[in-house]
């Protein structure tokens, strides 16, 4: 199969302007637009978690230097004051409750309101949309417990409150905040790092 037949473009709708004008503007302009573009694009990409998102996340975690194994307690972190956030978390819980085993990992959901994340007994944090500024406590918990945090809310990856961002549409992307990952004791295999986007 020609590689192009599977191409779903990196530049999603939010990136279109950036990609179109990139060849005509100086580098500092590109960087500026890049920064704005990331914000706009990834905010637009926020959506309810699908089983495909979880599967991609679990498979990606298999490339960690210290990969998780066996039964993994997944702390689904949500903002209890925001119905949409709770609803997203509940959907995610439902996906895992059906029994989700990916690449040797058996994912067991644990609902964790963001206020209680510090005391949650979990192996992995999955941060759903809508937690907002209180996500900093998730970052603190990940650092303290030295466990990975995964989210579809790329803003939280950008600001360092969650180390790993996942996009499955229109094209799979794994985005890693290098500093946040390092603080949480997370690293990826060298070859896998060539395949992901770090910032």
């Amino acid at each position: 199969m020609r590689s192009s037949s599977r191409v779903s473009q990196y530049c999603n709708r939010g990136f279109t302007a950036t990609c179109t004008v990139a060849g005509r503007i100086p580098r500092f302009g590109i960087l500026l637009i890049f920064a704005v573009g990331i914000s706009v694009a990834y905010r637009a990409a926020s959506a309810a978690v699908s089983e495909n998102d979880v599967t991609i996340a679990a498979r990606a975690l298999g490339f960690m230097e210290k990969p998780l194994t066996g039964v993994v307690r997944v702390g689904i972190v949500y903002e209890s004051d925001r119905p949409q956030s709770f609803q997203d978390a509940a959907s995610l819980q439902k996906i895992m409750d059906r029994g989700l085993t990916v690449g040797g990992l058996s994912l067991k959901p644990v609902m964790v309101p963001v206020g209680g994340v510090a005391g949650a007994n979990v192996d992995l944090l999955f941060l759903v949309d809508g937690v907002g500024a209180r996500a900093s406590s998730v970052g603190d918990a990940a650092r303290a417990r030295q466990i990975p945090c995964v989210t579809l809310d790329i803003d939280q990856v950008k600001n360092g409150d969650c180390a790993i961002g996942i996009r499955s549409e229109p094209r799979v992307e794994i985005l890693v905040n290098h500093e946040a990952a390092s603080r949480s004791g997370i690293g990826f295999a060298g070859a896998f790092k060539m395949l992901i986007t770090e910032f």
């Binding site: 020609r2 590689s3 279109t16 060849g23 637009i33 230097e65 060539m194």
Partner: protein
């Protein structure tokens, strides 16, 4: 002789890297390409820049044939599986002998495409060709075949002049593959293939491949202009690969292979002969994932022997022996978040004993250095530049026939050749990707051209001597290419368009020069001029309903030769007339429940084929033709699949080359997974 010092130096470098790694990051693991494919939903390749990349990110025109697609083709050999790819040309000379080329320029013993198995060269340097049947790899062990269209010498060095075919196999450590396939078909075909993986604890894996085939060649008439005779055909191959994860960041691989093939072939003398080819190889590889990057040391040795009867050369029987030793060290690392760099050094030793007059040896050493820089300028724009310089030192020792204007010291020369690959990739939106690619590849004269054939014969009482040409220069291919990929959501399809222009300079003709010397005639190869081509690959592929997939492709290509032979005997090459101007391919596939059916059409417009290098160089006309291949399969149980497949189904026999007409072949197969 091979010095141990380069290898010792490379090993020392790796040990130093390991020591540094211990003081830095301590945990890592090697990449599981199958798992990575599942993460990203597309194949991962290292064949473009040396760095792992998603296929859609690769800054080159790369086509990846997956294991599923290979199965659906129903081919019984690798050239058959490649023949359906856009931009790939296959000449089927006999039932088991074929030549493969990329973007035209196909010929007997085609030299322009470098073929590798998991990065190990299987290209035969002695004749500058790929002995496809002798490749020690079974279909059941192949994860994917990666076809890079265009020069790739900046990564792979000499002979990746027109493109690269890298056959990627399943990993002994990460994959569990246990399968066997039995086939029987027309022309007396009986074929068996088995692949098994075994785990020795959590950190060690072994994979074994076994393959065997017996069949008959076509029974169609041998054209008078080709002549020759047929013999028996058989193939046996074994490959054993082992991998050990020595620590979290260090992995070792070792691989041994052997193959023995006897079959009818059309070599570059353009007559039909029955040859035996034996290959052996041993490979060791160490991969270290450290804070200094992903370092890999690979050392391998290939032995290749070809035994040919007298009619292959027009007078003598002989045995060609070729040994190549390669040591490669590379390191890939990221600099910041936007830059990926690769540095590499390589040492290569190649030697061939002269034949049929023995006692001499032609050899060369090549020292190479290369670098690659990939820059993600923006999320949608990336630039990749790779540069490599190869320095070759040629030599000869031992017996040299008298009466030729050379001594062994005439071979004491060196040449330095740069090669590059540059590309700019722009993903303008969700649907479109544009690539601009410029590259320069180098095709080295083969060992025969450099003097591996040492012969004295006579014609009408005139003494004719062959000792090669020590001053022969390499052929270079400069390529410019513009690619456009577009996803068409409403059609559930994807379009690929690739416009390319290549200039091939200093084309080598193996009989391009005749010189009168006091003792008679000296027949030598020569650089005879340039050839240019411009072509366009257009491919549209997609799906409809849940069960159907399809593709159509069209490639118009114009080749113009500008050859001047110093003394015209026979140029032995004529790309302008032997490359079809129009090629079209189409496929239709259906999968439903336990059933699978696929059909493949291929059309080539009228072209010509060479018939002899030594006589008149006459061209034989090959009328335009349509060939149909197909396969129907039924999954009997979860472990057993039965299939019926066929090649060239439209006619009982059909002229596709200047050799004998190809015959229809039908075969039934049973695949068992265990």
């Amino acid at each position: 002789m091979l010095s141990i010092f380069p290898i010792a130096g490379l090993v020392g470098s790796l040990i130093c890297l390991a020591m540094l790694a211990d003081s830095g990051r301590s945990q890592a693991q090697s990449l599981d390409y199958g798992a990575a494919e599942k993460v990203f939903g597309e194949p991962v390749t290292v064949s473009v820049t040396g760095s792992p990349q998603r296929a859609s990110d690769a800054p080159a025109d790369i086509e990846i044939e997956t294991a599923d697609e290979i199965r659906q083709f129903g081919a019984y050999d690798i050239p058959g599986a490649l023949s359906h790819l856009t931009g790939v040309d296959v000449l089927r000379w006999t039932n088991d002998d074929a030549d493969v080329s990329i973007h035209g320029y196909d010929e007997a013993y085609s030299p322009r495409t470098l073929v590798l198995i998991d990065g190990r060269q299987v290209y035969g340097d002695f004749y500058g060709y790929t002995p496809w049947s002798a490749l020690p790899v079974e279909f059941g062990a192949i994860r994917q075949i990666e076809v890079v269209q265009g020069p790739s010498s900046a990564l792979f060095g000499f002979n990746a002049a027109g493109g690269v075919i890298n056959i990627i196999t399943y990993d002994p450590l990460h994959d569990n593959i246990n399968t066997a396939k039995l086939s029987a078909g027309t022309q007396g075909l009986a074929q068996v293939s088995a692949v098994g993986t075994f785990k020795l604890g959590a950190d060690t894996g072994i994979r074994v491949q076994l393959g065997g085939r017996r069949d008959d060649d076509f029974s169609t008439a041998i054209p008078a202009a080709v002549s020759g005779s047929r013999g028996s055909e058989s193939r046996a191959a074994i490959d054993i690969a082992g991998a050990m994860q020595a620590s979290d960041n260090l992995r070792f691989d070792i691989e041994l292979s052997h193959s023995a093939v006897q079959q009818d072939e059309i070599p570059n003398t353009y007559n039909l002969v029955n040859l035996t080819t034996d290959t052996n190889s041993v490979l060791g590889r160490a991969t270290l994932d450290s804070s200094l990057g992903l370092a890999q040391l690979q050392v391998y040795n290939n032995w290749l022997t070809e035994t040919f009867p007298a009619q292959a050369t027009g007078g003598f029987a002989g045995k060609l022996t070729n040994q190549v030793t390669v040591a490669q060290l590379q390191d890939i690392f990221k600099l910041g978040n936007d830059h990926t760099l690769r540095g590499s050094i390589e040492y290569r030793h190649n030697t061939m004993s002269t034949t049929p007059i023995t006692g001499g040896h032609v050899f060369y050493d090549v020292v190479s250095g290369g670098a690659m820089w990939e820059w993600k300028i923006t999320p949608g724009v990336s630039a990749t530049n790779a540069l490599r310089v190869d320095y070759l030192m040629l030599g000869r020792d031992g017996f040299l026939i008298s009466g030729v204007p050379y001594t062994n010291s005439s071979w004491d020369r060196s040449l330095m050749e740069p090669s590059f690959n540059s590309s700019l990739v722009w993903r303008s939106d969700d649907l479109d990707t544009l690539r601009l690619i410029a590259s320069r590849g180098v095709q080295l004269p083969n060992m025969e051209d450099f003097g591996g054939i040492q012969e004295v014969t006579s014609l009408a009482g005139l003494r004719i001597a062959l000792v090669g040409l020590p001053t022969l220069g390499p052929t270079t291919v400069t390529s410019f290419q513009a690619d456009w990929d577009r996803t068409i959501p409403w059609l559930h399809a994807a379009l690929h368009a690739s416009l390319y222009h290549q200039t091939t300079a200093a084309v080598i003709s193996e009989t391009g020069q005749i010189s009168f010397i006091p003792s008679g005639i000296l027949l030598s190869p020569a650089n005879i001029g340039d050839s240019r081509t411009t072509g366009l690959d257009l491919q549209l592929s997609g799906k409809f309903s849940d069960d159907w997939h399809w593709s159509i492709a069209y490639t118009p290509q114009i080749v113009t030769d500008h050859f001047v032979a110093p003394m015209l005997v026979s140029l032995g090459v004529n790309y302008q007339h032997t490359t079809p101007v129009h090629t079209a391919k189409a496929s239709l596939g259906w999968t439903h429940g336990n059933w699978e059916a696929n059909g493949y059409l291929r059309y080539e417009s009228t072209s010509y084929g060479l018939t002899s290098r030594f006589l008149t160089g006459a061209l034989a006309r090959i009328d335009g033709y349509i060939a149909l291949d197909g396969r129907v399969a039924y999954k009997l149980t979860d472990r057993v699949t039965l299939s019926l497949s066929g090649q060239n189904l439209t006619q009982s026999s059909q002229r596709q080359t200047s050799g004998p007409d190809v015959e229809r072949r039908v075969l039934g197969s049973a695949s068992i997974d265990f």
